[in-house]
Amino acid sequence: MARTLVVVGNGMVGHRLVQALRDRDAAGAWRVVVFAEEARPAYDRVALTSYVDTWNPLALQLDGAEFDGDDRVELNLGDAVVGIDRQARTVTTASGRVQAYDTLALATGSAPFVPPVKGSDLPGCHVYRTIDDLDAIRDTAERARTGLGRGAAMVVGGGLLGLEAAKALRDMGLSPHVVEFAPRLMPLQVDEGGGALLKRLIEELDVTVHAGTTATVIEEDRGRLIAKLTNGVELDLDLVVFSAGIRPRDQLARAAGLTVGERGGIVVDSGCRTSDPHVYAIGECANLDGKVYGLVAPGYAMAEIVADRILGGAATFPGADMSTKLKLMGVDVASFGDAHATEEGALEVVFNDAVKGTYRKLVVSNDAKTLLGGILVGDANDYATLRPMVGRPLPGDPGALLAPAGGSGGGVGVGALPDEAQICSCNAVSKGDISEAIVVGGCDDVTKLKACTKAGTSCGSCVPMLKQLLTVCGVEQSKALCEHFDQSRAELFEIVRVTGITTFSDLIGKHGSGRGCDICKPAVASILASLGNGHILAGEQASLQDTNDRFLANIQRNGTYSVVPRIPGGEITPEKLMVIAQVAQDYGLYTKITGGQRIDLFGATVDQLPGIWKRLVDAGFESGHAYGKALRTVKSCVGSTWCRYGVQDSVGLAVELELRYRGLRSPHKLKSAVSGCARECAEARGKDFGVIATENGWNLYVGGNGGMMPRHADLLVSEVDKETLLKVIDRFLMFYIRTADRLQRTSTWLDAMEGGLDHLRDVVVEDSLGLCAELEAQMAEHVKGYADEWAGVLADPEKLARFTSFVNAPGTPDPTITFREERGQRVPVLLGTPEVIAR
């Protein structure tokens, strides 16, 4: 009979334990019963602050959090465990249930520490730990907003979490004051010099910092809160958030007589076992080697250990890397190793650039030969190279490592690192693991490395190192488009854009070699089209196009084509529907509704295409570009016009977007959707760019994909008006068109981008490269220059003449194309492949 594991706490670590056990327990030896105090399935607490962008709890939910379809897992939400009887091996829950266990795992996490400030329990005082906490903060903030002027808030605690809370409050439209007892912000991670710069950079973002002081009392005064600080300052506030550290939730264990640490935390051994061999503790409630780890990675390691142990393994805790790198309100902060030079005789090398706003410190051994740790503020690009070097001989003079030329550790490459060095600390992947995946596993690009080793899949800061490792391992990261061009697609795009070259012959003559091929020809044709060079079948361009573009239709397996007229936003009148139906009937075309809310007509031969399109164009249809690497459709839900839940007119916006970007040629196809409310019926987050309506505007998501490699789109901007939305989409699309590789969808483009989403946002929202005006102008050109491709063919006898099946027998249908009937429609008779002719 299966044994029972009871898990108390369904936070990030508890959830990981259940997942790990279910993954490994193929024999089904264990049944898992989870009790969760919170009423929602496990979510990404690390990303809690991003909840403010969407207010959609589902966006934070962890993968597989509901254990749908797994009858070995029983998830009890909103039912906390209130007692443990270790003799009887049972737990009792708040609802009165008594559940027996064979093994018990405590994953109760920690609770925010609220310092003893008088008035800390007044309404308007909050903590910052759960989704419910943020909902409560939002409630108070909204009431504040109805008052006069900008609301004010105090955050008690200037550590990592306090600054995150300050960011959330600022995003909610309040002016935050951060009060920190230590003389500087983030005292655990940065030193005085770094703290000073951090304060300056944070204050530039409308956050007031009060360091070296603390609040003594909070009083209620006519519906507002007044906080008095020890330095004499009085703050007039709408709300207060306490974020002054965490305390492990060990009360349950304490009451059950388990050993707890002097400063709290359930004491466990290196196998995560408590003083009772039937009870484990993991995550932030555990005290291992006298330490309570406040980060998720060590917690995950503990979860994996317990899963292993429960199944008879002997895994032990490998020790944890407490290095951190984060971007706080756009300010880079990183600290790693012995950042505070606590080691005997440690030396510090500091490079402080007040003008650029960067602070960089390395801590080295007293002979200056070994790197011990460091701090980077303002620019943490070198974190990825420097962190794995901790504890290892320095490849050169420490000063040289800090040289601001940087970008890759001032010339220190990943090659200098030993095999054990951890490259991806989020997922514990070593340089050796990665090299092996490259050399033995045959991973020859970053995307494959990510899939195969998990490196670079969490925070992404090691992606540049993955690229370097590929080079070190001799994988030629050739950016050459094909044998005819040494340049990448992005480089060719720049050449065409800057030189104004308008033909393939000219380009290959000046910048390539040979005559071209089926790789470079369509790629260059697409570049020429993106930059507006007339009809895609004009002159030489026709010879560059893949068959789909050349016949403006999609080739199917028997050599016939399918036809997709544009139906913007999926909105169509009955009259137009009837035209499509009539054309399909007259030509005997198989019809099918597509996933993009339009109609696909199959089975047309090359010589039928002009006749079909003549009728469609006459009825007001135009090309749907289903055949092109171009904008396909902008799908929509019915939106506020009809739907009782809709908050905006999603169809109207979808139509507008589709008409704006129709015909836009890009490195790969582009799909989009607009949803009229957070229910997301249009599935916008599975699109290259997707828009979701909110009460106050539109949220824009980018980089989504369905298909073979599904990826949820990332939130780029939130709650913007339509004008801003269009501007940001214009820039996003043009930036993608300029810089992506051939056949690279926005999802992989974004995944491979150094700096990821933050960088993208810097470029297309903050305009960090000063490109935005140019990108917008280019899109304006496209919008102005758009003309229907099919109308263009019908108006040009020369182009029309190419639509014949046989050059010597125009009008003769292709005798090899035959149909049979299936479910009332015509489908192709499959062609036999000829017998292979041996040489």
Binding site: G516, D546, T816, P834, R839
Partner: protein, 114 residues
């Protein structure tokens, strides 16, 4: 005796009805389909029109180019390349398509049949 293997040249179409670096399909009286290509230097080649990998009669609609100096057409179905001169598939030399003799006389394309 008459030479049985003598080549008969059949008129297909004017050279100008094929754009440079493109192909067209031609239908022979016996129902055979031939893909005729005109390269950048006005050389003309003819291959069987059937793509041996997919079975579809579409090779004439492929993109022309060169691979390591060899003039090729890429199948529009799955992009295998065929040597325009020999019909051999560059990506899998065990596969090939038939070739036909062609020549251009007075700007007219003639196809040889035996």
């Amino acid at each position: 005796m008459t030479a049985l293997a003598e080549t008969v040249w059949v008129e297909l179409c004017p050279l100008e009805s094929i754009a440079r670096e493109q192909g067209v399909a031609a239908l022979l009286p016996d129902g055979t389909q031939v893909a005729v290509f005109r390269t950048h230097d006005d050389a003309v080649y003819a291959l069987g029109n059937q793509d041996p990998f997919s079975g579809a009669w579409v090779l004439s609609r492929g993109i022309l180019g060169d691979i390591a100096g060899v003039p090729v057409v890429a199948s529009p179905m799955h992009k295998q390349h065929f040597d325009l001169r020999t019909g051999v598939c560059v990506d899998d030399e065990t596969v090939s398509v038939p070739t036909y003799p062609v020549r251009v006389v007075d700007a007219t394309i003639l196809l040889g049949q035996t």
